[in-house]
Symmetry: C2
Subunit: 186 residues, 2 copies
C-alpha cells in the first residue's frame, strides 16, 4: 500500500488534531491566532483538507458535543493518521527543504512534542544543522564570486538571505544544546 503525499496544510492539521481533537473552525483559529498563520487560514483550504483527510481515513468525526452550539464537527486522529504524522515528522532534512521549505521544517519541529521522542528531535536538529551550515558555506562562496558584479539592491537582498541563514545556524546550535540539557534533566 502506497502512502499518499500530504500537503503541508494537511500535516499541520494532523499535528494539531493529535494535540487535541477539534473542529474545522478551531483549526482555523489555531492558524490565524498564532504564528502558524503561515499555513493558511481561509475556509476554502481547511474544509477541503479535512474532507480529504477524512476520506483517507487519517482523521474521523468524534461524537459531537451538542451542548448548545450548533453542528460542531469535532475531528480526531485515527491510528492510521497518527502513523502518517509520525512518518512526516521522521522524514529526513534535505538541502531543498532548507532552501525552500524552512517553514515546513519549523512546523515539523513545532509539532514533534508528544508524538515522537527526543531522539527524533535531536536527529532532526543535527541534520538541519548540517544542511544549514552547508548552505551558508555555499552562499558565502557564491557571494564572494558574484559580489563584485552585483548591483547594490541585489547585493543587499543576498545579504539579507545570508544573515537569515546565519541566524538559523546560531539558533540550531542553541536548540541542540537545549534538547540535550532537557534530556539529561528527565
Amino acid at each position: 500500500m502506497k502512502q499518499k503525499l500530504l500537503s503541508t496544510l494537511s500535516c499541520a492539521i494532523l499535528g494539531l488534531l493529535h494535540q487535541k481533537p477539534m473542529s474545522g473552525y478551531d483549526l482555523r483559529k489555531g492558524f490565524t491566532s498564532t504564528p502558524l498563520i503561515h499555513f493558511s487560514d481561509s475556509p476554502g483550504s481547511i474544509y477541503p483538507a479535512i474532507g480529504r483527510l477524512s476520506r483517507q481515513g487519517l482523521i474521523a468525526r468524534t461524537a459531537r458535543e451538542d451542548s448548545s452550539r450548533r453542528e460542531r464537527q469535532i475531528f480526531r486522529l485515527t491510528p492510521k493518521g497518527r502513523g502518517a504524522l509520525k512518518r512526516w515528522l521522521n522524514k529526513g532534512v534535505m538541502r531543498i527543504d532548507v532552501i525552500s521549505g524552512m517553514d515546513e521544517l519549523m512546523l515539523r519541529l513545532a509539532l514533534m512534542d508528544g508524538v515522537v521522542d527526543r531522539i527524533v528531535t535531536n536527529r532532526f536538529l543535527k541534520a538541519l544543522q548540517k544542511e544549514v551550515n552547508l548552505y551558508v558555506a555555499e552562499l558565502r562562496k557564491y557571494y564572494a564570486l558574484a559580489t563584485a558584479t552585483m548591483p547594490l539592491s541585489g547585493r543587499l537582498a543576498m545579504e539579507s538571505g545570508m544573515d537569515g541563514y546565519r541566524a538559523q545556524a546560531r539558533w540550531v546550535g542553541r536548540a541542540i544544546a537545549e534538547v540535550k540539557r532537557n534530556r539529561r534533566l528527565k
Copy 2:
C-alpha cells in the same frame, strides 16, 4: 483597463528580462544557478509562464540570433511589461508580506536596480523596517504569554522564527544606511 495579477514567478521573469533579453532556457539557468532557486526552475513552470506573459503583451520575441544554435527564442520586455514590472516594484509592504511573503519582498529588492530609482528602494526599505519591527514586537508579546505553556519543540520553533526576524531587523537597518551612503556618493 484592469491589471492582471501576476504570479511571483512571472514578475521574476519580467525582472530578469529587463536586465537582459534572454531565452526560456537562460531564465531557467538564472533560477537554478543562483539563490533565486526559490522561484522554481522546471520547464513546466517557466515555459507556460512565458507563454502567458507573451499573450498578455508584457514580453515579446526578439529576432532570433540564428548563429548556429537551434531555435532559441529570445524574449525581451515590452513597454507594457516594463510598466507592470515598475508597478510590482512600487507596491507597498504589507504585514502579510512580512509574515508569509518575505521571499517575494527580497526578490523585489533584488530586481530594483536599474528599474526604479534609489528613492523607491529607500521607501521600500523604510516600510519593510517598520513592518518587521512591528511583527517582532508582536511575536515577542505572543512569546511572553505563551512560552510557559509551550512544549519544548514548539518553543524552539518559535525562537527560530523570532531570531530570523530579528536578523532581518538588524539587516534592514544596515541596508538603509548603505543606500543612503551610496546616494550621497553619486
